[in-house]
């Protein structure tokens, strides 16, 4: 069955895939050949095909994280040919399609590499450090119930739209993987600025930024040196402006800190 393009020809590819038994084991790149790959396939479907072949011959399939396969859950990762989420801009690995590659290509597939993201197996890494940054302050402290009517807090559309843009971060960790310092600034700043922009979030803005930045340091993420590869590789287009906003929030919080 062909998709929309009946002329698309199947491809044969060479894959170099990082295999690592567990966190402690030493890993290495293994070479695999995949044949008759349809350009209509997604990148992960291509890996599914390889895994089915491996299984049939009694070999351990390649472990990689994935879930929604719609580019929104943030569970997929993969460093493809030296790029976080592969060659297509603004695209998660699960939305990357094989039509972006050519017959005969060699594709190198590695896990996210950053100290706070230990490898669990093959291409799957532990990103729980990002959850802990969120737990340090990525919320507005309201309990369920007892809140005002939704329309009692008018928010200018331009602010709401900007807050939305920051809120679309999918927590995949590509920004960290793409950064030569392994910094989580883009990730952290997205949440800090979303909540700092909204009237509901202003109450806790100082403690929030202080606590989230502190947690970032505890987890061992590197410093930001304004290279910008994070934003360039971000699959959902989180803007560098958020980092500027975080810095502004952080300095102003420190100057007038309530954490005495």
């Amino acid at each position: 069955m062909a998709g929309n393009n009946p002329n698309s020809k199947p491809m044969n590819l060479t894959l170099k895939v990082w295999r690592q038994k567990n966190t402690k084991a030493t890993g290495r790149l293994e070479t695999y050949q995949v044949k008759d790959i349809s350009p209509e396939m997604s990148f992960l479907e291509m890996l599914d095909v390889l895994n089915e072949d491996l299984l049939r011959s009694g070999q351990d399939p390649i472990a990689f994280d994935h879930d929604c396969r719609e580019g929104i859950c943030g569970m997929c990762s993969l460093y493809i040919n030296g790029r976080a989420h592969g060659p297509e801009r603004g695209t998660t690995t699960c939305q990357l399609h094989m039509r972006k590659f050519a017959d005969g290509d060699t594709i190198t597939i590695e896990p996210w590499r950053a100290t706070p993201f230990p490898i669990l197996k093959d291409l799957a890494v532990d990103r729980s450090a990002l959850d802990r940054i969120q737990q340090a302050g990525g919320y507005i402290s309201v309990n369920t119930g007892g809140v005002p009517d939704a329309n009692e807090i008018p928010i200018p559309k331009s602010i709401a739209d900007k807050a939305f843009d920051a809120a679309t971060c999918i927590q995949c960790g590509a920004c960290v993987a793409a950064c030569k310092n392994g910094s989580a600034m883009l990730f952290t700043s997205a949440k800090v600025s979303q909540l700092a922009m909204l009237p509901q979030g202003k109450v806790e803005r100082k403690t929030r930024v202080e606590n989230m930045v502190a947690q970032m340091d505890i987890e061992g993420f590197g410093s930001c040196t304004n290279i910008g590869s994070c934003a360039a590789e971000c699959p959902v287009g989180i803007s560098l402006e958020n980092i500027a906003m975080l810095n502004r929030e952080f300095i102003s919080a420190k100057l007038t800190s309530e954490n005495l």
């Binding site: 997604s42 599914d48 809140v147 509901q200």
Partner: protein, 637 residues
């Protein structure tokens, strides 16, 4: 067994308030003595876990993903309904209630649905207070759009990512409680059994997906918020990991499973492109606000869409349903798309697709306006298909999306197992035979934020606070059974992969228990599933060990459960000799091919009881009483 729905007495509009007053309360100082397990961290689970922790209970929350924020609620696109009537267009709690009952083809409980409509307004307030960036008008107030099955604009949205933003709101509330130590979070952990002590749910057995560790967790009550079972079909809009294992294992421990054959086939998904296809991607229903659905009038018209003149196009939804047009409910839209393709008027190379065309909307409102509303959906479509939907119509086809059936629950959302609750898509209670668009998010959050926090207290207030340790023999026994299942899967070492079995099951389900069903096909499917299940246990190939990240082993356990659940869906579809909502039995249709209900004989919830391995389940009926709404033939003409 008598199914007691525990619907409170009194007029519809007063039932919930009255019930809230009548339920027993747990003293604030005593709440910390009670432990509650929440399985699943989507909208229903995360909201429940956070709210119960805020109240003072100790919560243990579990998800199989690496972070609670990845639960598949995150992928919901279009919006969330609420009877705010901010648009002054005639909406009300009663209208939302009525639309939902009618949309569900009169197979849902009045009292539950009315409560859902009532609390819908609180959900929006809660989410805004959490910082959820809903779409707004220039005056700073919230914007709305309309969805299928409604003639008012009551859907709140955050571009095409409403589920994401709502889940991140619930996730942030959950994070706050994790930081306080009131919620202990267990990511990458899968529930594999329910543990009962003295006839009550007292805990679960889990497997850690990285280490393989099998562990027991005890509590005073267990909430399953584990979503639906659409992945029985292999191809669906569910996430790859979405599964029915927790609900199914609870069923095997005595929780009744209600209306399993009620599955929703969503009309607007990107069509299948090949046999390697791993999942299907939804294009939000909101697109039907501006997109027009059509196929060529002539059979076998192979011209490009742009070459087909207006007069030779059939806008079949607008033609057949002039008052709702492209915004008919999902079951109606899906069935009509299938009919058009069955007639040989499908489009694209597979001929299993219809067009969803935005040319008129772009001409009317401009490219910018359309891109503002649907930009991310158009982008997603372009990435997957390699086509530009601004220039040529989208090709869409129905796909399995949601399951209205689920664990049977009473008005308190408790299953037939005392102390075991089911919320969100995991239960059956609110959507009848067809769910309206933007109502899944509403129900998940209603259950978690505003229903379960009240009703669970009623149960806990009546039980002693003494804890049962996970070293209790009931836990050890359940652990041993889980371990034995794992060992059995690992020891078969057959020749066929788990995915091969899953795909084979999906094909049977889609062909015989999908958009259209008939008795003969269903009987055939039942035998095929039994055969496939026997083959699975003889010939499946699972490599590796338990004590590692073993993706094949995880999948094998889930598919083993799907192979049983699929048969129950078929049983239920065979039993229901009528057509209603998403359940379309070809034998029962009107001359216009609409679903023909049999209210005299089937105005009931079919709740199935497990009776043992490979045994025919027992059917129990909960009669549905309609005291406020008159049952009519649904008409969207």
């Amino acid at each position: 067994m008598i199914l007691d729905s525990k619907i409170p007495e009194g007029p519809l509009a007063e039932k919930w308030d009255k019930h809230k007053f009548n339920v027993k309360l747990v003293n604030p100082a005593n709440k910390r003595k009670y432990d509650i397990i929440v399985v699943g961290t989507g909208l229903a689970g995360a909201s429940a876990a956070a709210t119960l922790a805020e109240l003072g209970y100790n919560v243990k929350a579990f998800c199989f993903q690496d972070s609670p924020r990845r639960a598949h609620s995150i992928a919901a696109q279009g919006g969330i309904n609420a009877a705010k009537n901010y648009q002054n267009d005639g909406d009300s709690v009663y209208r939302l209630f009525y639309d939902t009952i009618k949309g569900g083809d009169y197979r849902a409980r009045e009292a539950n649905v009315y409560r859902l409509a009532q609390v819908s307004v609180n959900i929006i307030d809660q989410c805004v207070a959490q910082g959820v960036p809903f779409a707004r008008e220039y005056g700073g107030l919230l914007a709305n759009r309309s969805f299928g099955g409604a003639q008012v604009s009551r859907t709140f949205y955050a571009r095409g990512q409403t589920g994401q933003q709502l889940l991140l709101g619930a996730y942030s509330a959950l994070n706050r409680q994790i930081a306080y130590g009131k919620v202990k979070m267990y990511p990458r952990t899968e529930m594999l059994d329910l543990v009962m002590v003295d006839g009550k749910a007292r805990g679960i057995v889990t497997r850690h997906l990285i280490t393989g560790e099998i562990q027991s967790h005890s509590a005073h009550a267990v909430i399953l918020a584990t979503g639906g079972y659409g992945n029985v079909f292999f191809l669906s809009t569910n996430a790859m990991g979405s599964n029915a294992t927790a609900a199914w294992r609870a069923y095997k421990k005595g929780a009744l499973f209600a209306n399993p054959c009620f599955t929703q086939i969503h009309p607007t998904c990107i069509p299948v492109s090949g046999g390697y296809q791993s999942k299907l991607t939804l294009m939000s229903e909101s697109l039907r606000n501006d997109g027009r659905v059509w196929v060529p009038k002539a059979v076998g018209d192979n011209r490009a869409p742009g070459d087909i003149p207006e007069a030779e196009r059939d806008y079949f939804l607008e033609r057949k349903y002039p008052s709702f047009g492209n915004l008919v409910p999902r079951d109606v839209a899906s069935r009509n798309a299938k009919l058009a393709c069955d007639e040989g008027r499908g489009v694209g190379t597979t001929k299993l697709a219809v067009y969803l065309d935005f040319a008129d909307a772009i001409k009317r409102d401009g490219l910018d306006a359309i891109s503002q509303k649907y930009g991310n959906l158009f982008e997603m479509y372009a990435k997957i298909t390699g086509e530009n939907p601004y220039e040529q119509p989208m090709r869409i086809y129905p796909a399995v999306h949601y399951t209205m059936g689920g664990l049977w629950v009473d008005y308190n959302l408790m299953t037939t197992v005392p102390g075991l609750y089911a919320t969100g898509e995991c239960n059956f209670s609110d959507h009848g035979a067809n769910r309206l668009g933007a109502s899944a998010l509403m129900q998940g959050l209603a259950d978690g934020y505003f229903v379960i926090p009240y009703t669970i207290g009623d149960y806990l207030a009546q039980m002693p606070a003494a804890r049962i340790e996970p070293t209790h023999p009931a836990f050890k026994e359940a652990e041993a059974a889980v371990r034995a299942d794992v060992d059995r899967l690992l020891s078969i070492n057959g020749t066929r992969t788990v995915d091969e079995f899953h795909k084979a099951l999906g094909q049977i389900m889609w062909d015989y228990c999908g958009m259209a069903r008939n008795a003969e096909g269903l009987q055939f499917a039942k035998k095929e599933i039994q055969k496939l299940r026997a083959e699975f246990w003889n010939d499946v190939k699972v490599v590796g060990t338990n004590e590692e990240l073993n993706i094949t082993l995880e999948k094998a356990g889930r598919v083993a459960d799907f192979l049983e659940l699929g048969e129950l869906m078929v049983d239920d579809a065979l039993n229901r000799n009528e057509s209603c909502g998403g359940h379309f039995r070809e034998e029962y249709q009107t001359p216009e091919n609409e679903a023909l209900r049999d209210d005299e004989n089937y105005t009931y919830v079919a709740a199935w009881e497990y009776t043992g391995p490979n045994q025919q389940p027992a059917l129990h009926k909960e009669e549905l009483k309609f005291e406020n709404v008159k049952l009519t033939q649904r008409s969207y003409k």
